[in-house]
């Protein structure tokens, strides 16, 4: 009995050693972040939506937030024609011409910017992005400019719903949450492809391309 237990201990120790040699760090520099630190920093949202936090929002709530949170100030009251990227395609929008927001003197006189990559009617997020998760992710990580990270999950769901509704992707009454958002059928869902072959060192970009 005792010898069997000893054998077991030896096997476990040997096993641990093997795992250790295969995977142990070489330099031991840096420190392990806590689970809380990772949660706070991990703002990436997969197209599957697996990192989405619980929450819900509708286009109606989003319409109010769009004004309250200052979105209209940069993106235009109608979601286009502002100085920041187009959010609501002017071809789809039923709203009138853009109204320059207060405090943005000269906005109406400068040409709309074409940031990199250029965001205009054709590639506004709701029109061009194959997944609705991209919209949620970007509002959450980068907006409102200067106050990033201050929106609650419910507010981000609501603003995402507002943008999708205004671009005629979802209905006004649709509720977006962590389960329904990744399932939104986007107009450009089939509009992207990865290269035919996985990237590999020494492989030409595209066979037979001149």
């Amino acid at each position: 009995m005792a010898s069997r237990r000893l054998l077991l201990v030896v096997m476990v120790v040997l096993g641990l050693c093997q795992i250790g040699t295969a995977q142990s760090p070489t330099y031991g520099v840096g420190r392990a972040p806590t689970a809380e630190e990772i949660r706070a920093w991990d703002i990436s949202i997969s197209p599957t939506g697996k990192e989405l936090p619980p929450g819900r929002g509708t286009a109606k709530e989003g319409a109010q937030l769009y004004v309250q949170k200052g979105c209209a100030g940069c993106h235009g009251r109608t979601g286009w024609g502002g100085r920041a990227p187009v959010l609501i395609s002017s071809k789809i929008s039923k709203d009138g011409p853009p109204v320059p927001a207060n405090g943005m003197a000269g906005m109406a006189h400068e040409p709309p910017p074409c940031l990199a990559p250029c965001v205009n009617d054709a590639n506004a997020m709701a029109i061009h992005s194959p997944f609705a998760t991209v919209i949620w992710d970007y509002i959450n990580r980068g907006m409102p400019i200067g106050k990033e990270g201050t929106l609650t999950p419910n507010e981000v769901y609501a603003l995402t719903a507002f943008i999708l509704y205004k671009n005629e992707v979802i209905k006004e009454g649709d509720v977006l949450d962590e389960l329904s958002l990744p399932k939104v059928k986007m107009p450009n869902a089939a509009g992207f492809a990865l290269p035919p072959e996985e990237w590999k060192h020494g492989r030409p970009r595209l066979q037979n391309y001149p």
Partner: protein, 412 residues
């Protein structure tokens, strides 16, 4: 500043008094010997952080003349003055700049900056700058090029046609070292790299590339990165388009799929063939002298000079045509040909005073040859007039030399 200027003015005036010739002290007549004893500048400025001669005027300009930073405070794309460049290193002051979607350049305290590696790893890790500087590092010379580096007929100079590329020596820790330290799990296939600026620009990068030759850089041309280049930490993804070279790098998440970030979606295409031509830069070259807007003063000898680079590896050969692509002759490589780096070429040319069209094309270590626009049109089975270069535009750039010696964009 003002006291420096005053002192400089005093020195200048003093020199002028000493020689008795205001012009002579500043700009000696070509036939005369310059006054060697005249101090050129406030010596303090030269010692603390060197400046170039005030006679040198090469500067970056913004794309399309758009102010940068604009009245909104955002930095847009700024072009490097390739027409004034020598060799293969772009001075950090003149390195082209582009930001994620037009972002603010953040003011980051390096002591507070952290890089976190997490996701599908056995041991998530956080590094400070000091941690990273303890680790083995390499210095490599690599170009960076924006996907928007796309010549068109409206461009006048090589700065406008090709100025969204630059090349520097980068120093940092191989990303593979950091990923091995964290222990990448078997099912992983991509990474998402993310910056710390306000929009936290992020890109999906194949794990194979991340493990191959990417660097987590803090050094550029022998000093810390410049703020516009990602101070204090940036990712170098050699040969890939600029948007992957994540500045202000703060987080790398190891994942099992393409994540379609905001920056990713802007570059998508439904055609896998176009996608293949989008991520990595193809073999590309351009003549920087003589180039658009320059003037040949007379017929006779000129050394044609230019740059060649490829996202697939080192440049093996550069050819130059002085007759609009009818005949090609080998140029000489005038610099080391490093993988994924600008490579300088030169070509002896005697201009006979007649109209000429100058072109260059390069071949990289995979044997891939830089295409003309006609080659590209043929591949897509289109007429050359209606065809456009898909993905990263690496087509041949023509410069037209008129009989009066003026140089113009051959696409116009």
């Amino acid at each position: 500043m003002s006291s420096k200027r005053d002192r400089r003015g005093f020195l200048k005036n003093g020199a002028a008094l000493a020689t008795g010739l205001t012009v002579g002290a500043v700009r000696p007549a070509s036939a005369q010997t310059p006054a060697a004893s005249t101090p050129s500048k406030d010596i303090k400025e030269l010692i603390a952080y060197g400046e170039r001669s005030r006679f040198e005027t090469a500067v970056r300009v913004s794309v399309g003349g758009r102010p940068s930073p604009d009245s909104f405070g955002l930095t847009f794309h700024v072009l490097a003055p390739l027409q004034d460049s020598f060799g293969i290193i772009t001075p950090s002051s003149l390195f082209y700049t582009a930001t994620h979607r037009g972002a603010f350049v953040p003011d980051i305290n390096p002591r507070e900056h952290r890089l976190m590696i997490h996701g599908m790893v056995d041991r998530p890790l956080t590094f400070s700058l000091d941690d990273l500087k303890r680790l083995p590092y390499v210095s490599r010379i690599h170009f960076v090029e924006c996907l928007g580096n796309r010549a068109n007929a409206n461009h006048k100079t090589v700065q406008e046609t090709h100025g969204l590329t630059s090349c520097a020596e980068w120093t940092g820790v191989p990303l593979s070292l950091l990923l091995k330290e964290a222990g990448v799990q078997n099912a992983a296939s991509w990474i998402v790299a993310e910056g710390a600026e306000e929009v936290k620009g992020a890109s999906s990068i194949p794990l194979a590339k991340a493990m191959d030759d990417c660097l987590v850089c803090y050094g550029q041309n022998g000093e810390m990165l410049r703020p516009q280049q990602g101070y204090p930490l940036r990712l170098m993804v050699p040969g890939f388009e600029g948007i992957y070279q994540i500045k202000y790098l703060r987080r790398i998440k190891v994942v099992d799929r393409y994540y379609m970030t905001y920056d990713d979606y802007g570059h998508i295409n439904p055609d896998p063939k176009v996608a293949a031509l989008t991520h990595q830069i193809g073999p590309k070259s351009v003549i920087t002298f003589p180039s658009g807007g320059q003037q040949l003063p007379e017929r006779g000898f000129y050394e044609i000079s230019g740059l060649a680079w490829s996202g697939a590896g080192a440049i093996r050969k550069v050819e130059v045509s002085t007759d609009g692509g009818q005949t090609w002759k080998d140029a000489e490589l005038r610099s080391p040909a490093y993988p994924m780096a600008h490579t300088r070429f030169g070509f002896h040319w005697n201009w006979d005073g007649r109209e000429s069209v100058l072109m260059s094309r390069c071949t990289d270590e995979l044997g891939t040859v830089q295409p003309t626009r006609a080659d590209v049109a043929k591949f897509w089975n289109e007429s050359p007039e209606r065809s456009r270069v898909r993905g990263a535009d690496n087509s041949v750039q023509p410069w037209k030399i008129a009989s009066d010696g003026s140089v113009r964009n051959g696409l116009a």
